[in-house]
């Protein structure tokens, strides 16, 4: 049974964590294959020739890439428990909108806000703050983005924001604080308190060390490029 579902992922990637959680919520057995992104497996290259990225879900030999696409596939294929998306088309549209917002806007703006310098960074910090306010606005008055139970948007958002908190620690910045975003922080704490969700998070110190090392390497590479 475990052979039927394979997940190609990496321990540090929030996109990978999303899929782990989705599969666990559905009570599915799966084979997890840790990828070394500096030495990608043949299976990964064959399964995702277009992007060569993780996560990739392989179901009965059929590969699917792009975490949000994978989540929808999981939800549609295994409908017996823990629906990720609501049934109502409008509620689904709203959920897809926010998930897209996180992936296409929030993440990239956050990177700039934490990593850039000068005016670009200032602008990004402003934009990031606005984006977090929008997210808070969507969450306010609800237990989760999904309503009474957590769902698609919660899964999409939680691991990204947790990752950003790790980046924040590495950069010693204070862009996301409980004072500024009490609703978001309360929501994150709730999810951290959930055993299944927390089980998909990497150990915090290990994650911080990893991101720190990667940032150092990226900055060194950037300064070498500038010097050259």
């Amino acid at each position: 049974m475990a052979k039927e579902i394979k997940l190609l992922g990496t321990w540090a990637s929030p996109f990978s964590h999303r899929i782990e959680l989705a599969l666990k919520l559905k009570g599915l057995q799966f084979e997890y294959l840790e990828e070394d992104l500096s030495n990608k497996s043949q299976l990964l290259l064959q399964s995702n020739p277009v992007h060569r990225k993780i996560p990739v879900l392989i179901h009965k030999g059929n590969p699917i890439s792009e975490s949000l696409v994978i989540m929808e596939y999981i939800d549609e294929t295994w409908q017996h428990q823990n629906p990720l998306l609501p049934k109502d088309p409008y509620a689904r549209a709203v959920a897809r909108f926010w998930a897209k917002f996180i992936d296409e806007k929030v993440l990239w703006t956050a990177f700039k806000a934490y990593n850039d310098k000068g005016k670009e960074q200032e602008d990004a910090i402003e934009e990031f703050s606005q984006q977090l306010k929008f997210l808070e606005g969507e969450l306010k008055g609800k237990e989760y983005f999904g309503g009474e139970r957590f769902g698609f948007v919660d899964i999409a958002a939680f691991f990204i924001l947790q990752f950003l908190r790790v980046l924040q620690e590495v950069k010693e910045a204070e862009l996301m604080t409980e004072e500024k975003y009490p609703v978001l922080f309360e929501w994150m704490e709730k999810l951290q308190g959930n055993e299944v969700v927390a089980g998909c998070l990497p150990p915090r110190e290990k994650h911080i060390a990893y991101v720190r090392a990667r940032r150092a390497a990226a900055e060194e590479a950037a300064s070498k490029t500038k010097a050259a």
């Binding site: 699917i64 929808e72 596939y73 294929t77 549209a93 897809r96 929008f134």
Partner: protein
């Protein structure tokens, strides 16, 4: 009483995607043209996050992001489906629609990369008339920019990326796309589009 409104901009391929989907399904709607240089209160109210078109309003419920809207349309009006029923095929269609979106975002990038994308897309046609098979689907709709707008962009910029000898399969798809009876209705007049892009000098920025 079904009330469907679409806030759009005649130049925008994203806006036209939604029109195309509504027309394919025979859904009547009120079209409200937006002036993106002077955004209306309505637009700002309906799409405060992005302040962009298209915005669909169905019985007072507002939604934004063209691919999200396409999925809503397909789920709400199931006739003439634009997504396959089978979850795996659906996942593939979503993957390709996203791929096209991402590549459009990066359109400023290297010619080489763009060429690779077109080669990849050609492969996806697999000898079919459309990405959706015999009939137009979500991926064809998502690729509308390539199907029509790209030609105009190439004329204005003088850059010939997609030529018949380099990309015969894609060009054949483009021919089929613009000839499709419903698609035709949603294409802005070529000369007007040309003029609009020329006025914007080189890289047209319809993403307001």
């Amino acid at each position: 009483m079904e009330e469907v409104k679409l806030l759009g901009w005649w130049v925008s391929p994203f806006s036209r995607r939604v029109e195309l989907a509504l027309k394919l399904k025979g859904v009547g709607y009120e079209y409200i043209e937006q002036d993106l240089a002077h955004k209306s209160q309505l637009l700002l109210e309906y799409n405060p996050v992005h302040k962009k078109v298209p915005v669909l309003v169905h019985n007072g419920k507002t939604m934004a992001e063209s691919l999200v809207i396409l999925e809503y349309i397909d789920e709400t009006w199931p006739n003439n489906p634009i997504l396959p029923r089978n979850p795996y095929d659906k996942a593939m269609a979503r993957f390709w629609a996203q791929f096209i979106e991402e590549k459009e975002e990066e359109r400023g990038k290297l010619v080489e990369e763009a060429s690779q994308c077109f080669i990849t897309l050609e492969g996806e046609l697999k000898g079919n008339k459309f990405f959706g098979g015999e009939e137009i689907g979500m991926v064809d709709i998502a690729a509308n920019f390539i199907g029509y707008w790209l030609g105009v962009v190439q004329e204005v910029s003088g850059m010939e990326l997609v030529t018949r000898d380099k990309f015969p399969v894609l060009c054949k798809w483009m021919d089929e796309f613009v000839e499709h009876s419903v698609v035709k209705e949603t294409l802005p007049p070529r000369d007007e589009l040309h003029a609009e892009f020329e006025a914007r000098l080189g890289a047209p920025s319809w993403k307001y």
